[in-house]
């Protein structure tokens, strides 16, 4: 997992609570300006948005049912009837790639949701729960961070019996420590600031404090991490399916499709190529978006990256 930032000084420059209307309008203008000056990242954003659209609506526009088997028309090259050709069982590759977007991206979303939620919970508890709780939870997190995520996910997935659900659970379990560490830092540093102290003196409850004042500040940095993680998680998830520890055939998951396609690549390169390209584009798109966000959200970090 790539590190975003853990520098408290930078945090001092940010404002509590939400943004006002004028701030939001100005923000839109700024976004457009930023996109103009960063054409590569802008393309990345387009790709990422496109992939999300495909995940949401792909199945509606898919020309065929991804499970429609037709052995008479197997391994046909790309043509007018099958834009991406057919696979070893005569299924339309384009339709499978479109459905696969939903499978892959929704699984990625679930993983990140679980990992971020668990991580946020742990991190917040650690930051606000006192010295002992902090030590214990952070020690746990450090240990979690010291394990290689891919290998751990493979082992866990095998332990859970394999399959897509097992893979999702496994990767989530490997991923939450990164979020825990990040959130703890953000929360701990925000919690030390004056306005929080003031609020506490005024009698605002701990929970309200966390929910209304502390977390919202952490959210956008968390969001940057999430965006960067989408690419990593997608690659890990499809990697698990590729080696057989994740989604299994005939599920139209991109990693599983690449694996099936590699078996027949000498006769039908398209079966592996198209899901692979889709996966690559997804990873690149979201990475670029993550880079862009990271560059924009942190002025100091921006200087370091030389934009």
């Amino acid at each position: 997992m790539s590190a975003v930032v853990s520098d408290p000084v930078m945090l001092a420059e940010r404002s509590p609570g939400g943004a006002s209307m004028e701030q939001r309008e100005g923000r839109t203008r700024r976004i457009i300006a930023v996109l103009r000056t960063h054409p590569v990242e802008a393309i990345g954003l387009c790709i990422a948005l496109f992939m999300v659209l495909v995940a949401l609506f792909g199945p509606l526009v898919a020309p065929q049912n991804p499970d429609d088997v037709s052995f008479a028309t197997r391994m046909l090259p790309p043509s007018a009837t099958n834009w991406f050709g057919t696979d070893d069982a005569g299924r339309d590759v384009l339709s499978r790639v479109l459905y696969g977007a939903r499978t892959t991206l929704s699984s990625v979303a679930i993983v990140i949701l679980i990992a971020a939620s668990v991580g946020t919970l742990v991190g917040t508890l650690a930051a606000l729960g006192g010295r002992a709780v902090d030590e214990f939870l952070m020690r746990l997190t450090d240990i979690g961070l010291s394990f290689p995520p891919l290998v751990l996910a493979i082992g866990l997935s095998a332990a859970f019996g394999g399959g897509l659900t097992a893979a999702i659970a496994a990767i989530s379990l490997s991923w939450w420590p990164g979020y825990a560490r990040l959130v703890r830092t953000l929360v701990a540093d925000t919690a030390n600031r004056d306005f929080v102290e003031n609020a506490r003196v005024l009698g605002v409850s701990r929970l309200r404090l966390v929910l209304r004042h502390i977390l919202p500040n952490a959210l956008d940095l968390l969001f940057v991490q999430v965006t960067l993680d989408i690419a990593f998680v997608a690659l890990t998830l499809s990697g698990l399916s590729f080696i057989g520890a994740g989604a299994r055939p005939p599920s139209p998951e991109w990693g599983a499709m690449i694996s099936e396609g590699s078996q027949v690549i000498t006769s039908a390169w398209w079966v592996a190529a198209f899901p692979g390209i889709a996966l690559t584009l997804t990873a690149i798109g979201f990475s670029l978006v993550g880079d862009l966000l990271r560059g924009q959200l942190d002025p100091r970090l921006k200087t370091m990256l030389g934009r």
Binding site: D67, D68, V69, F71, A72, R74, M75, D88, A89, R248, P249, P250, S262, Q263, V264, I265, T266, S267, A268
Partner: protein, 536 residues
């Protein structure tokens, strides 16, 4: 140089001529005498070239006790011999190998084998009856692997260095055929490495045999190398290869790539769709051979919707047999005719169900299972199984039946077969008979004693009337009686729709034109008779 040596009849010429004639006669004499020596002892000739075989699965072990596993058998055929052995090709007879002759007592309980003399193990020790007795007693002691083939075997006794007796507790007519899978170990060598598991750990990576090739090296999951054993009892006259190399490549594409680039000269698992190109290519031979194999979709007769014979009949009617042969097998194979593979002894033509989705739907409704969901187990790496699942799932979907796929590896399947409740409704599985005796399929696959994970009875079929038939057939030596029993057994399986009998697939091997002597080893599925192959 002397200037006056013109032609052979000069003084120098004569000297040379004499020398040449003497040398020639001397060598001729040597050749003749060495040949006559050789006929009495080991022949010396020179095998040459390397056979590089691309195959999909690495062996689980090199211990021949697991020779019923075809990946192990594939290795064992190189470095071991059995008492009796089949040659390659269909209808191959059972020939003497390490045994030269045998007698069976009238009671059918005692088999006495006279053993071949002059046979050496790879480390130079001589082969005797002690080695045979040790091998058999070890199998009985461990109770696994090839043990299931030996039936009522109880004891092996050394009668003399060249005579050994195998004792059974009951008559068992399939016994002799099964001996083709019992590879003889060197007693002294294995005893020295018994460890805590009767030598299984040691034999997993070592060679203790008398076979034509010795195991040189094995890189786990990648490459196995064998080289010719100079002292092999059968000798090396004629054409043979000096080295046999197995490359384990799971992907058919990888095998194709290896074959086309010359990195392999035999490929065992080329995809059917790639065959037309190889057929047109003059540098390759495509060998298509019928087999003893049969592909089934077994139906759980003891649990779930398939317990009802109407449901089983419906499923048998819902299978598109013709498409399976034409599109999945690419025409390389035939529709099955009953549960016994057509090439086996005592086969009778059984009327197979025809593909009729309307009839199937009606039967599901009649049984009260319209719109139900079924689970089907298959191995995703085996194309015929994976495609058969897709075919059945797609066709059943048309009549409102959902089939949920359970892709699993063979070890996982074995675990699932432990009880009827954990066995899926449908199990895609092959029968790989080790010899043409109908016992191999009708007993080993459908006898009730092999249900509940004790064997391959994936239908969990338990019918006392059926059991009686197959047990009786084992007890008699009369072929006519056997075949009568087996005919009734085949009909019973058909009447009760115990399995969907899908196909008798052909085996397709693609070889480089430089490889000769290949004939598919029907009695040893998915292996090669490397000793009789050679490379030009």
């Amino acid at each position: 140089m002397p200037t006056h040596s013109r032609g052979l009849l000069t003084r120098h010429g004569l000297r040379y001529l004499t020398a040449a004639i003497s040398a020639g006669s001397l060598s001729l004499g040597l050749v003749i005498s060495s040949n006559s020596l050789a006929s009495a002892s080991v022949k010396h000739a020179s095998p040459s070239g390397t056979l590089t075989i691309a195959t999909d699965e690495p062996p689980q072990t090199f211990d021949p006790i697991q020779s019923t596993n075809s990946t192990v058998d594939q290795m064992n055929l190189n470095d071991y011999n059995a008492l009796v052995q089949y040659g390659p090709g269909t209808n191959a007879p059972l020939d003497p190998q390490l045994a030269t002759s045998w007698t069976i007592s009238p009671s059918g309980l005692d088999y006495v084998f006279t053993l071949r003399s002059g046979v050496k193990f790879h480390d130079g020790s001589s082969f005797t009856a002690t080695d045979v007795a040790f091998t058999f007693n070890r199998i009985a002691k461990l109770g696994l692997g090839v043990y299931t083939e030996l039936g009522p075997f109880v004891d092996a006794k050394v009668l003399s260095p060249s005579k050994v007796e195998l004792v059974l507790s009951k008559k068992y007519s399939p016994f002799l055929d099964a001996l083709s899978r019992v590879y003889i170990l060197e007693a002294k060598l294995v005893t020295a490495h018994l460890g805590t598991d009767e030598g299984q750990s040691w034999l997993a990576t070592h060679d203790a045999g008398t076979g034509p090739y010795e195991l040189d090296s094995y890189v786990s999951g990648s490459v196995a190398k064998f080289s010719a054993f100079p002292g092999y009892w059968q000798g090396w006259t004629g054409h043979h290869v000096a080295n046999v190399v197995y490359k384990f490549l799971a992907s058919p594409s990888a095998q194709q790539e290896a074959l086309q680039s010359g990195q392999a000269n035999v490929a065992m698992n080329i995809a059917r769709t790639a065959l037309p190109a190889f057929k047109k290519n003059a540098s390759f031979t495509v060998n298509v051979s019928s087999t003893l194999e049969e592909f089934y979709v077994f139906m759980n007769t003891q649990y779930g919707p398939t317990k009802d014979v109407l449901v089983r009949q419906a499923l048998a009617d819902a299978y598109d047999y013709k498409t399976h042969i034409s599109s999945i097998l690419g025409g390389y194979g035939e529709e099955a005719s009953g549960a016994l593979p057509s090439a086996m002894n005592c086969h009778v033509d059984i009327k197979q169900p025809t593909f009729n989705l309307t009839a199937a739907k009606a039967l599901f409704a009649k049984a009260g299972y319209a719109g139900t969901t079924l689970t089907m187990n298959y191995e995703p790496e085996t194309f015929e199984q994976a495609d058969s699942f897709l075919l059945l799932q797609s066709d059943l979907q048309k009549i409102g039946i959902t089939v949920k796929g359970v892709p699993s590896t063979f070890p996982q399947t074995v675990t699932m077969l432990k009880t009827p409740a954990t066995t899926p409704n449908l199990v895609a599985l092959y029968a790989f008979p080790v010899d043409p005796n109908p016992n191999e399929v009708l007993y080993q696959t459908f006898y009730s004693g092999f249900a509940d994970g004790k064997g391959y009875n994936a239908s969990q079929y338990a019918n006392p009337a059926y059991d009686k038939l197959v047990l009786a057939a084992q007890q008699t030596t009369s072929t006519a009686t056997q075949c009568a029993d087996y005919a009734k057994a085949q009909q019973m399986l058909a009447d009760q729709y115990v399995a969907i009998n899908v196909s008798n697939p052909d085996y397709v091997t693609v070889l480089s034109k430089s490889v000769h002597g290949y004939d598919y080893y029907v009695m040893h599925t998915q292996t090669e008779d490397t000793y009789n192959m050679w490379v030009s």
